[in-house]
């Protein structure tokens, strides 16, 4: 196998691992917060339903954590196995957040074990809830640190290059790159949003499938409220991200928007197809790109004409960008209508068709997460370290990457099927009505 093939298969394997990992990782970052909120509401309102909600989410969460942990270990090692030259170079500058990520992960792992096995140990439920805070903090901080590493790859800084050597290294400066604030904020808010909508979709599904229990209604309303808050936050941060790109990574924004010529008062292209360099069927919103990039309808936006051809990312990222933004907008609208409709006691939000829309919202949010990451990652091609190292210079020279790709693809298939089977069995065998009556019997037994 030649070097070119090694590069190709390394890219495919990394993409496969990450695409699989982020499904579980996003849920893993978001759900602890949801569990915390549910348990807190339960304690506050003295409502058994919310506590049970927290408990049932926790059980499902363990399964997603397990897959998240093992695939996270895989990508952690693959960084060095598939991109040895990159890690050798970048390790000098970016090892600190990677190292801190393992601490956050450690912290989460310890307290998750404790939280799981002390449900009835403490008299005071609040004490048990306190254990969840380090779990949520650990989960969010591992996302923060690992996103910092990714932000560094997009906007490397904190070192100088003299005669091909890295000098004057400043590990802290390397963590606080210009890309870092928007990336970290966007990753966190979308993780919370996605987790909320995935849980909402489960609640809606149970309501559709016959169970008309008030428990599911409470769950649905709570998660849709949280989802709404974070989808609004995501939209605001998304706007900041656009401004960041215009300032620091104009080629990514220009490729995403099919903005070929540098111009003032640039329009925004929505949808459409690219045919021989011609944009067709697109919806053109005048001045919108200038507003997105610089908050000024007449501002100049740099186009692809300013870059050498071999430094331009693939133009198909436009579709990914559109998918991400459209789903984001759709979910914001869907949750807003649901929350307002419920407050105003409008009937249609409890109708079958609306609940089906909510059911599809969970998977759609995950699609948006995938599209967003593909857009962010493909959008910085051809660089692995923007402006410093090209992707083909970073890959391994080993000849067995294609075989490893097959092995890992098999592994992810097994993990996907396994986790879906286990999760559905877990909740199908023990529906909430059953568990509520079991707990009631148990309590009465205790009193006698």
């Amino acid at each position: 196998m030649g070097n070119e093939e090694s590069v190709f298969f390394s890219r495919v394997l990394t993409e496969l691992t990450l695409s699989f990992h982020i499904i579980y990782a996003t849920i893993g970052v978001g759900i602890p917060l949801m569990i915390m909120i549910a348990q807190w509401v339960g304690i506050k309102k003295q409502d058994e339903h919310y506590i049970l909600l927290a408990r049932r989410w926790t059980r499902g969460f363990v399964i997603t954590v397990a897959v998240g942990v093992v695939t996270g270990t895989a990508i952690g090692l693959q960084l060095s196995l598939l991109w040895p030259n990159f890690m050798e170079l970048a390790g000098n500058v970016i090892a600190l957040p990677l190292f801190m990520e393992t601490f956050a992960f450690f912290f989460e792992a310890i307290f998750l074990g404790i939280y799981l096995y002390t449900w009835d140990r403490f008299e005071n439920q609040k004490k048990h809830m306190l254990l969840l805070i380090p779990v949520a903090i650990g989960a969010s901080f591992s996302a923060i640190f690992i996103t910092i590493v990714n932000a560094f790859m997009n906007a490397p800084q904190g070192f100088d290059i003299a005669n091909g050597q890295l000098v004057n290294i400043n590990p802290v400066l390397a963590m606080f790159t210009p890309a870092m604030p928007t990336k970290v904020a966007h990753v966190l808010s979308t993780a919370y949003m996605t987790a909320a909508f995935v849980l909402a979709s489960i609640g809606a599904y149970r309501l559709l499938k016959g169970s008309n229990h008030v428990y599911h209604k409470k769950a649905l309303f709570l998660t849709m409220k949280i989802g709404l808050i974070f989808s609004i936050a995501t939209a605001v941060i998304g706007d900041f991200s656009g401004k960041y790109l215009a300032e620091y990574q104009p080629e990514k924004l220009a490729a995403a928007e099919w903005h070929f010529e540098t111009e003032e008062g640039a329009p925004l292209m929505l949808y459409g197809v690219l045919d021989d360099g011609e944009v067709k069927y697109a919806i053109k919103i005048p001045y919108a790109l200038s507003i997105l990039a610089h908050s000024n309808p007449n501002a100049e936006v740099i186009g692809l004409d300013q870059f050498p051809e071999d430094e331009i990312p693939p133009l198909y990222i436009h579709y990914l960008f559109d998918i991400m933004v459209t789903i984001g907008m759709w979910m914001t609208a869907l949750s807003l209508v649901y929350v307002v409709g419920t407050w105003l006691k409008m009937r249609f939000v409890a109708s079958k068709w609306y609940r089906w829309l909510i059911v599809f919202g969970g998977p759609l949010s995950i699609v948006a997460i995938e599209a967003g990451w593909w857009f962010a990652e493909v959008g910085r091609q051809p660089w692995i370290l923007r402006g410093i190292m090209r992707t083909e210079e970073a890959a391994t020279t080993s000849g067995q990457v294609d075989l490893m790709l097959l092995l890992f693809a098999g592994l992810y298939l097994v993990l996907a099927i396994g986790s879906i089977v286990v999760l559905t069995r877990m909740f199908r065998k023990n529906p909430v009505e059953q568990e509520l009556s079991d707990r009631k019997l148990e309590k009465e037994g205790d009193l006698q």
Partner: protein, 341 residues
């Protein structure tokens, strides 16, 4: 002490931590499968599950911590070991992934089948085998640097007696460490049948563990004479290790003080592990890579050490809490509490 030495010592200590906790985990899976095979599962399963459940995730982190740390402190290892280890490390990752998720799926999801228990037990033995290959490679002689990059001589590695001795040692050590720990744990749980059975396993595995360990020292004489002579200079550390080994076996034999026996065992492995590590100095990969020419810049090293100290400040109390709530909590250990989510 230079920053390089601090860095490698810290990492070596964490690797040691992984060796102990992972051995307990891998061995437990194997004994569980073996007892199912011998129809004695009812004796062991509960005790093993009760120990493993709250800590299985923590075990994994020790490994992640080690490999992230070594790439951080010694970025050149990413280039050398990253290129060489693609196949063995990928196999280890896949086995670890299947094992970890299978554990979660069965424990929390109720997916239970006999053949999976066997596979689970066996996979636990393949992982230490595939990981211990790194130790063989680090001795040199299997890697060559060519114009197009670095290459690993798979056939040479596969046919080397050193490889197989290290594999056998890792297996014997896994089963020995695990059996001693579980004997102690079962005894604490007042589960005497389980303690008795595990005690037998511990005594059985003590012998191959010590014989292969000695055998490897002899083999190194031919394979890497430089390393061998450095090992000989540290004979006293191996002496201490052997005395501690004898102490453990004596206590287990006499059915006394299982907790102390496990403490002695930890000391035995700690002494041998560090003696091996120190004698390897200064090479990370003989003769290409030393800890000096692969070390990161000073600014990063300082930052990593500060992060490490801060991190430990957070971790040690949390680990203590974990142990206090589960390992040293009588009601939990004896299975009188079922506080599972």
């Amino acid at each position: 002490m230079t920053l390089e030495i601090i860095g490698i010592s810290v990492l070596w200590l964490f690797l040691f931590g992984y060796v102990i906790v992972a051995s307990i985990d891998f061995g437990a899976g194997f004994f569980n499968a073996y007892s199912l095979f011998r129809r004695k599962q009812h004796i062991l399963t509960r005790v093993i599950q009760r120990y493993l459940s709250p800590v299985w995730e923590v075990t994994n982190v020790f490994l992640v911590f080690f490999f992230v740390g070594i790439v951080g402190f010694f970025p050149k290892t990413a280039y050398y070991y990253g290129t060489i280890l693609l196949v063995p490390a990928s196999i280890a990752i896949i086995l670890l992934a299947i094992r970890g998720s299978y554990y979660a799926f069965t424990t929390y999801g109720g997916l239970k089948q006999k053949r999976w228990t066997y596979l689970y037990g066996l996979s636990g033995l393949f992982i230490p085998a595939s990981l211990s290959i790194v130790l063989t490679i680090s001795e040199g002689g299997f890697v060559s640097e060519t114009a197009s990059g670095i290459e690993l001589d798979y056939w040479g590695l596969f046919t080397s007696p050193l490889t197989w001795s290290i594999v056998v040692l890792s297996l014997a050590a896994v089963l020995y460490i695990s059996a001693v720990f579980l004997t102690w744990y079962a005894h604490k749980a007042q589960d005497e049948p389980a303690a008795e059975l595990l005690r037998k396993y511990a005594l059985f595995w003590s012998l191959p563990a010590i014989i292969t360990a000695t055998g490897i020292i002899v083999e190194l004489r031919g394979h890497n004479p430089e390393h061998f002579s450095r090992l000989m200079e540290l004979w006293w550390l191996f002496g201490i290790s052997f005395i501690l080994f004898a102490g453990t076996v004596y206590l287990i034999w006499k059915r006394k003080l299982y907790g102390i026996a496990f403490g002695l065992l930890t000391g035995q492995f700690l002494a041998a592990f560090f003696a091996y590590g120190i004698s390897h100095y200064p090479y990370l990969l003989y003769p290409y890579l030393t800890i000096y020419d692969s070390f990161t810049n000073e600014a990063m090293a300082t930052a990593l050490i500060i992060a490490f100290i801060a991190g430990l400040g957070l971790l040690l109390p949390s680990l203590y809490l974990l142990l206090r709530l589960f390992l040293f909590n009588k009601d939990y250990v004896q299975g009188k509490r079922n506080d599972h989510a």
